[in-house]
Amino acid sequence: MAVPLLEVDDLTVRFRTDAGWMTAVDRVSLAVGEGEALGIVGESGSGKSVTALSILRLHAAATTRMPTGKILYGGKDLLTLPTREMRQIRGGEIAMIFQDPMSSLNPVLTIADQIGESLRLHQGVDHVTARKRAIELLDLVRIPDAARRVDEYPHRLSGGMRQRVMIAIAIACRPKLLIADEPTTALDVTIQAQILDLLRDLQRELGMSVILITHDMGVIAEFARRVMVMYAGRVVETAPVGQMFRRPVHPYTEGLLTAIPKLDVDVRRLPTIAGSIPDPTVVIPGCRYSPRCPQVQESCRRDSPALLPAGPEREARCPPRVAAMAKETVA
C-alpha cells in the first residue's frame, strides 16, 4: 500500500457519563488503501461505531470531549477541518450507511427527494437531473421498476429495499470511501447476502474503499480483505482476513472464531467467551482482556500490552502469544 486514502492515527474519543469520563476509543490507528475493504469486528461497545462516526466528526458535541489524534484524508486532518469543508467531505468524499434502514429514511420525503438531496448539495444539479440520476442509481442498486419506485415514499418499501435506497444515497456522489456500520444486522439472512453482494460489486465497479463494521465473522470473511479486531476501545489484532481465520494471534480473536457455530460438528453447547465486556468506566490494569482470557499470565494483569508486529501485515496486542509465535518461526 503506497499512500493510504484514509489514515487514522492515535484516535482517542472520550464521553462524559454520569460516572465520569469514559474512554470509548483508545488510541486507535488504522489505514485504508484505495479500493481496499477493511473490516472492523468487535462486540457491542467495543468502540467500532464511535471510531466510524468520529471519522466524519459526527460525535455528539455536548457529551464528547474533542477527539485527539489525527484523521488524515487527502493530506488534510479531518479533526481540525472547518465545518463548511467538513460538510463537503461528508456525502461527497466519504459516505456512510447505517444499521437500521427502517429509520434511516425521512418518512415525509419521496425516494427521489432523498437521493437528490445529496446530489443537489454536492454537485448543484437541478431537480430534473437529480431525479434522472436517482432513477439510474436505483437501477444500479438493483431496485426493479426504478422509474416508478423513485416517486414513492419510504413506507412502501421493505427493509432490504430501503437499505438499497440508503446505498444509492451513499454512492450518489461517487464517494472515495464508504463506511458501512452494520449494514446487514437488521436484515434477514437471505437479504443480507444480497446486500453484501451488491456492496462488493459496487465497490469493484466504482473503485471505492469500504470500511465495514460488523460483529458477524461470516460477513467479514465474505467481504473484507483486512480485519481489525477491537475490544474495549482498543485494537487487539489486525491481519489479512485469511490469516486471521487460519491462525488468530490474540486469545480474544481466537475466542470469537471458536464461537462461530460449525455445520459439520455436532455440539450440545456452543463455545462462548466467559464473562462479559467490561464496564467502560472501570479502569482495568494491564491487558483489558485479562479478566476473561483463558491463557492469562501474571504479567498480563500488571503491564498494559503494546500492539506488536506479528508477521507481515499483522499486529496483535498480546506479548506472550506474539513471543510464542516468533519462537515457532525461528524453530
Binding site: 461528508r90 456525502g91 444499521q99 415525509v108 440508503m166 444515497i169
Partner: protein, 293 residues
C-alpha cells in the same frame, strides 16, 4: 411509459405531483366538507356589500325585530340589520382568525425547530415560552391588547403572541423525537447543514401536529377576539365583528335570542370548517397516514 416518465420536464413532474395531491384532497370527505364550509363563509363575507344595507345604520323604530323575510337574522337594539352585520363580521373575524393562526404558526414553528436543533438556545427560548405560558392566554392577550390600543392589528398581535408558546412546544416536542432518528444522522452524513436539517427534515415531520394546532388556534382566535371585543380591547364598536355583535347582544339574550344566536352559530361553523379542513390536509399531506384510494 418509463421512457416518458424519465424524459418528462421538471414542471410536468411538479405539476403531476400537485395534481395527485389535489385529486386526493377532492376525494377526502371531511376535507371537502370543511373546504365547502370555509369557502361559503369567505364568499359570503366578500359578498357582504351586495346586500346594499349599511351595517351600522340605526333605525330606532325597527329595534329588536325577530327574524323575518325583511331582516333574515332580525335586528338588534339599535335596529341594525343583523344579517348584514354578521356578513361584515365574517370579514373581520375570519381575517383575525387566519392572521393569528398563520402568525403564531410561523413564529411558533420557527422557535420550536430552533430550540430542538440548537440545544443551547433551547433553555433560553423555552424559559421565555414558559414565562408567556405562566399567564392564561386570554389574560396575556388582554394585557398586550390594552398596551397596544384598541385596533384590529393589535388584537392579531396580542392573540398571536398568546398562542405562540403552545405551538412552539408542540413543534419542539415533535422535532425532538425526529432528530433522534437515523435519517437525521444520514442527512448529516450527506453533508446537510443545520438549516437544511431544520427546515427540510425536522419541520415537515412536525407538519401534522402543527396544522392541527393551527386550526385550533384559528377557532380559538375567533372566540378570543369576541372576548377581547366584549371588554373593549379589539376593533372598537360599531365595527361589526362576531365578537362585538355577541357582546352587545348579551344583555338582551333572554328577550332577543336571535342577536347572539346567528353570530354564535357562525363562529361554531367557522371553527368546525377549519378543523375539518386541517384534519383533511394532514391526512393527505402526511405520507405516513396515507390510505390508498
Amino acid at each position: 411509459m418509463a421512457e416518458a416518465t424519465i424524459l418528462a420536464s421538471g414542471e410536468a413532474i411538479a405539476a403531476r405531483r400537485r395534481f395527485r395531491v389535489l385529486r386526493k384532497l377532492l376525494h377526502h370527505r371531511s376535507f371537502m366538507a370543511g373546504f365547502i364550509i370555509v369557502a361559503v363563509m369567505v364568499i359570503a363575507a366578500l359578498c357582504a356589500p351586495l346586500t346594499g344595507v349599511d351595517p351600522n345604520q340605526m333605525r330606532v323604530r325597527l329595534r329588536f325585530r325577530p327574524p323575518s323575510e325583511v331582516n333574515w337574522f332580525g335586528t338588534d337594539q339599535f335596529g341594525r340589520d343583523l344579517f348584514t352585520r354578521t356578513l361584515y363580521g365574517a370579514q373581520l373575524s375570519l381575517w383575525i382568525g387566519l392572521a393569528v393562526a398563520v402568525l403564531s404558526g410561523v413564529v411558533g414553528a420557527a422557535i420550536g425547530v430552533l430550540s430542538a436543533q440548537f440545544r443551547r438556545l433551547d433553555s433560553l427560548l423555552m424559559r421565555i415560552m414558559d414565562a408567556l405560558m405562566a399567564a392564561p392566554a386570554i389574560l396575556l392577550a388582554i394585557g398586550l391588547g390594552a398596551a397596544l390600543g384598541p385596533q384590529t392589528h393589535s388584537v392579531i398581535i396580542a392573540l398571536a403572541v398568546a398562542y405562540i408558546p403552545r405551538t412552539a412546544r408542540i413543534v419542539r416536542a415533535s422535532a425532538l423525537v425526529t432528530r433522534e432518528l437515523e435519517f437525521i444522522e444520514a442527512a448529516r452524513v450527506s453533508g446537510a447543514s443545520s438549516m437544511r436539517i431544520m427546515f427540510k427534515h425536522l419541520l415537515p415531520n412536525a407538519s401534522g401536529p402543527l396544522l392541527v394546532q393551527s386550526t385550533f388556534v384559528f377557532a380559538f382566535a375567533i372566540l378570543a377576539e369576541a372576548a377581547l371585543s366584549f371588554i373593549g380591547i379589539g376593533p372598537p364598536p360599531p365595527a361589526p365583528s362576531w365578537g362585538n355583535i355577541i357582546a352587545e347582544g348579551r344583555q338582551f339574550a333572554v328577550q332577543s335570542w336571535w342577536i347572539m344566536l346567528f353570530p354564535g352559530f357562525a363562529i361554531s361553523l367557522a371553527a368546525l370548517g377549519m378543523n375539518l379542513l386541517g384534519d383533511g390536509l394532514r391526512d393527505v399531506l402526511d405520507p405516513r397516514l396515507k390510505v390508498e384510494s
